[in-house]
Symmetry: C2
Subunit: 372 residues, 2 copies
């Protein structure tokens, strides 16, 4: 195994400090000993990372790269995260911006079960984005949520997911709530002659996740919403590998990894690349112009990495959401193209005519942007 | 269930912006609808969080509190994290600094299996800190690591953990390596007539974690090192709940949550309180003056929260490490007292007389600071 992987970081300057940081990362993430430690030659040559750079980046910062033996990430996704950003995560100002992984590592990951093409086939939707909503607010009765989902589907919605805030005090509550909404979705599917996709939020105690997923799939539903930062990145990878379900990833709790632009992980690396490595078919993110501070460029980068070539992994759907309105439809179309999920929550539910009228209005806006 | 829990945040000013953010968090983390959404009265009264503050904090920032129904975190630790810092994590400048949890929630968590008193009983050590080291560097043979552990124990070391960078390409490699070091630890225990604690790094694919833990305990070892940010916080909680083993938590990959002091989670909340909620008996953190940028005050805060009253959960051991040397022993003693683990890696291994001489020297420094 002489294959290598490369991690790219943005670090503070000046240049000699950036170079020092690159060397420090190369040491810290492998041998983690003082620089004057009497390392054996073969360890220094074969194990310690190899730093390169610095290259000037933006605003006085620098790009550096560290090249590691790929074998050091051979124990699975967790070992990869540990290798490229274990202790380095604790240094202020260090941002992991890119990963270049050899095909041998990528080939061990199954990636999205459905991805862009698979979900199009499942839903029978061509040449336009998918319309999604979030079932909310928390505190609604099961019947209210089911009715909202049904109305959304009647108006032409493709995919209704639980709001990620929806939680159930117990498995019994989860069964009752999800069962009720699943019935509504099945009824609308039969009425419309097309699959109406309902994705319940897979949450709760770790020991119940698999059983809850089984229950969901046993109802005839095709997938779930999941928060990888809460459930665990490698746990999502495992669930997605075991069951050929649709996984829609939500960014809850992950923001601290990238909300500050000068450390952590590049937003698109986390919400684009990593989401896909763990098997997300759809990756939700807050669109520019909504309640969060993402820029249009950052959002395009997420979509780019969700769909760019990555070994033999299927492309994933970017799902911009968070404060979308009808007025932003043309921008959505322009920024993300047809292979995107339009995730419209509150504004759609509040539309004239309720979720049905809202779905109809958004589908009409979509039709204007993507004429058949 | 009318119990409440309170989340405390530090947010940017000015005061009216801080107040707006508190209201936004209260909405975002519960109903997540636009502020003009026609919420039913009972949802507005019973579900939406209740903001309080702002109170001026440091450097133009403000402290705000949001009080939530405790039932919204009733689905386990994941639902708690989602509730208090799900979408709020994505807002730049928002830092979760404290959590006040009702006893009913705390009572559902088992917490540390051993904690301060339990580990003292296990090791038979009274009235002084524990001396720990990290087995490294990566790339060493199994025999070399085993020899280093044995020498450390002969010199008086209490606890040898795998370096968190140590990974094994497969379960078979893990078995061979851990088995070899466990033999050495058992031999030294028998020779010294006291338990020499070896904690292997529990890592690898998610689906193997339980089996690897079983293997470790089957060898007669008493616990493991684990990286909760990689393995998943609730996954560690689950493992610790199922097996009465010692869990030493390492901060790898968690730094992005707190390295920037103006968003994410308060360092001591993550490495002190959360570590304990998931069952860490020992919580490792980079000490001030080492290679990382923690201040002495931050380190004392971690130790404080690791050991402060928290429902009926046992206190955990703070384990300051990262670039420690003999010269820092008096400061360690002063800052952390007797109930701390001195984690000394590279400098101890590099000592005159190797790990044995290093352990002896640190035990002597400890004896000077804590005379019997």
């Amino acid at each position: 195994m002489n294959e290598r992987l490369t991690a790219v970081y943005e670090v503070p300057g000046p240049a000699d400090e950036a170079a020092r940081l690159a060397r420090a990362i190369a040491f810290e993430e492998t041998v983690e000993v003082p620089l004057d430690f009497p390392l054996k030659d073969e360890i220094r040559d074969q194990v310690v990372g190899r730093p390169a750079g610095p290259v000037p980046s933006e605003e006085g910062r620098f790009r550096v790269e560290v090249d590691f033996p790929a074998a050091l990430a051979g124990g699975g996704l967790g070992t990869l995260l540990n290798l490229v950003f274990g202790n380095a995560s604790i240094w202020p100002g260090v941002r992991l911006t890119d990963l270049r992984l050899p095909d041998s590592l990528l080939a061990r990951l199954k990636g999205p079960n459905f991805g862009v093409e698979g979900l199009r086939r499942l839903l029978g939707v061509r040449d336009r984005p998918l319309l999604a909503t979030a079932l909310k607010p928390m505190g609604s009765t099961d019947a209210e949520l089911a009715a909202a989902a049904a109305a959304f589907f009647r108006g032409g919605g493709d995919l209704a997911k639980d709001d990620q805030n929806l939680v159930d005090a117990s498995f019994a509550h989860f069964r009752a709530r999800v069962g009720r909404i699943a019935e509504a979705a099945a009824r609308e599917s039969a009425r419309a002659g097309r699959p109406c996709l309902y994705l319940p939020h897979l949450s709760g105690p770790q020991e119940e996740l698999e059983a809850r997923l089984e229950f969901v799939l046993g109802l005839g539903l095709r997938g779930v919403l999941v928060c990888p930062a809460i459930v665990g990145l490698d746990q999502v990878r495992l669930l997605a590998e075991r069951r050929a379900a649709v996984f829609m990833a939500h960014p809850a709790f992950s923001g601290a990894f990238y909300a500050d632009r000068r450390h952590g992980l590049e937003i698109s690396l986390y919400l684009g690349t990593l989401a896909r490595l763990i098997g997300a078919d759809v990756t939700v993110f807050p669109n520019a112009g909504g309640r969060f501070a993402f820029t249009a460029e950052e959002c395009r980068a997420i979509a780019g990495r969700a769909r760019a070539p990555l070994g033999s992994l299927a492309p994933a759907w970017p799902a911009p959401g968070g404060g979308m309105s009808l007025a932003s439809a043309p921008a959505m179309a322009r920024d993300f193209g047809a292979d995107a999920v339009w995730l419209v929550g509150g504004r759609l539910l509040m539309s004239e005519g309720g979720p049905e009228g809202g779905a109809r209005a958004f589908r009409a806006a979509m039709a204007r942007a993507f004429p058949a």
